[in-house]
Symmetry: C2
Subunit: 372 residues, 2 copies
């Protein structure tokens, strides 16, 4: 029987680690004291096993559990439950990684477009993609569409709604999507490019289905979803059954500090179908380190056959000045997303956007040849 | 215009708190630098306001933001986004509380049964309710139903699936629910009581709808849902549209350490419709303190007109020995849930269950008169 191998970082006295690891195995499988497990099948095929305990410091160990695949029922919510249901409430335990058996990977499926698909759709072969954001919320659909037009005209490849844009009175979802997609379509017609507009879908399953339908009917090129906000099983089901365009995953509400960002944002969101993963870049408004950011990017686009790579999208307070540095750090299979800092240009938005785009093209030209 | 008043605990140098509080207000509303907000409507009606800054220690302040209600679009997912979307990624910020304007409270609705409804259904007027759990997973539907029968016969009021029970091959959801509900029905017929069986529903929205239909068709008396696992907007929509029985909320995957448990498990789950809220009791397998547990119970059942009170369900390694202490601590409007420790009795399960039930009745008799 196949198992998920889940790695937890556990803080406790070294003398107690074996007992604590066994308790973790019970908590994340049968959730009873060991002596309650009297059934041979349960002991052999359901109970989690401590597979490895590795010391990292005096009071810190990495514990690998083998979680029996049948306990997941092949379901996303239940898999998360088995990975970190009760133990998420244990302050001494952090979930740092997991590897999944082939049948679960095949079932969850990963990105349907991924890096290659995003390149195909945008026609950008070699350089990093550029991304922009529509905000602040509170603007009318028409005002957001005007921003969208300017960013598209300035050369940005992917333009996403701010994740704060929902279905609000001042900019109803249907109006905004219609107007912004029309703006992008106009630029695409005029330039022969294929700029993707990604509206933010947010709400209950019923609202999400309705929004997905509108987005489909308007012919948008991508969508933005926050899996931790709408629920990860909803995210996966929506991607698998309702959406036929690339999906950008946003990290809103994903700040469960005891799940490692590289696993949660990189690997897990990728497995559930994110084609691109937005996360806070180092040196911005958030405290993620360079190594954390590199780990997220690696988890998103590293080899994982047969799963496609997900495009890393470092963001969160990025500026045009940092384009060269970010290309250096991340290389070409990246989308550079600049939001508020472009908008600070005010009436000079088009010029600032063109500068951003030119720097990405130039940086890429230096590194990767002529670029796209 | 109404506002949500959200309280964040912020760690930073005292000299920086005003700037940090302003940055928080930007992050949780417009998500742009302040100078990008050039529209008067956005500045007045969308931008969050710093309403209060209160020092708690040299480097620790409580910051109250006024979040404009229209930004929520009246939607659960978007409300959570406005409360703690991006800032969940900020290690120096914790969400500790929020008060909601009347129209949002009315819209989200809170418990449909609550404490009073659970008492009505079970016929338990004055004493604490008793709860038991079916586990370990891996047992067949027939074996779980036998446990269920014994716990019901022993006098337990509410019997829930372990949250690890899903739709697994060794105990398919439909079989388990049919068998366990039949066991409870038999005891109810024999004793004239109304024991409630609460199966665990878990999965994608589609799977949840299917499971809710089965549960309804089998006539179960309650259900168990883990809002953080299935997604909080899904939880709310399912409760509001698919379920006509009390809902027990389970805290699996709710261990986002930077949302205060009293807010998340007590107030927020209650607002979204939980009739009873399960949480780790102090002195069990989890590290919650007495004061945290008291705060969760208060948030769940404290006055909040017109919202019903949600029943606190302290659990997580509780034992029969602690019944008197827990009644002392929580009083009568509580459900005492004992899981694995009852099951440790093995073949003496019925006797151990009866002892548990007798202690609750006796403790309640001493405190509240004859009890139910």
């Amino acid at each position: 029987m196949s198992r998920i191998h889940a790695v937890y970082r556990v803080r406790c006295a070294a003398a107690e680690i074996d007992a604590v690891a066994e308790a973790l195995a019970l908590e994340q499988s049968v959730e009873t004291p060991r002596d309650v497990v009297r059934d041979a099948y349960v002991a052999e095929h359901v109970l989690a096993r401590v597979e490895r305990v590795e010391a990292r410091a005096d009071d810190l160990h990495d514990v690998t559990l083998g979680l029996a695949s049948p306990t997941t029922g092949g379901d996303v919510a239940q898999t998360l439950n088995m990975l970190f249901g009760n133990s998420s409430l244990h302050a001494h335990v952090e979930l740092v990684d997991a590897t999944f058996p082939d049948e679960l990977v095949a079932r969850f499926g990963g990105p349907r477009f991924g890096i290659a698909g995003l390149r195909e759709l945008t026609g950008v072969r070699h350089r990093p993609l550029t991304g922009g954001a529509l905000k602040p919320q509170g603007l009318s659909a028409a005002a957001l569409a005007e921003l969208c037009y300017t960013l598209a005209l300035g050369g940005v490849d992917v333009i996403k709604d701010d994740h704060g844009l929902a279905d609000q009175t001042y900019s109803p979802f249907a109006d905004r999507v219609r107007d912004c997609q029309e703006a992008v379509r106009r630029v695409n017609r005029e330039t022969g490019r294929n700029v993707l507009y990604a509206p933010s879908l947010v709400g209950s399953p019923e609202a999400l289905r309705r929004q997905a339908r509108i987005a489909r009917d308007e012919g948008v090129g991508a969508v933005l979803l926050a899996p931790a906000l709408i629920g990860m099983p909803v995210f996966h089901e929506l991607v698998a059954t309702q959406l036929r365009v690339p999906v950008l995953a946003h990290p809103a509400y994903a700040g469960a500090t005891r799940v490692a960002p590289a696993f949660l944002l990189g690997k897990w969101f990728r497995l559930l179908g994110a084609d691109a993963v937005i996360y806070p870049n180092y040196g911005g408004r958030f405290a993620y380190s360079r190594s954390e950011c590199a780990a997220i990017a690696d988890a998103g686009r590293g080899p994982w056959a047969p799963i496609r790579g997900a495009m890393p999208v470092p963001a969160g307070g990025m500026t045009v000045d940092r384009v060269a540095e970010m290309i250096d750090f991340y290389g070409a299979d990246t989308m550079l997303l600049i939001g508020g800092s472009l908008l600070q240009a005010g009436d000079a938005l088009l010029a600032r956007t063109r500068e951003f785009v030119a720097r990405v093209h130039a940086g890429a030209g230096g590194m990767y040849g002529a670029g796209a």
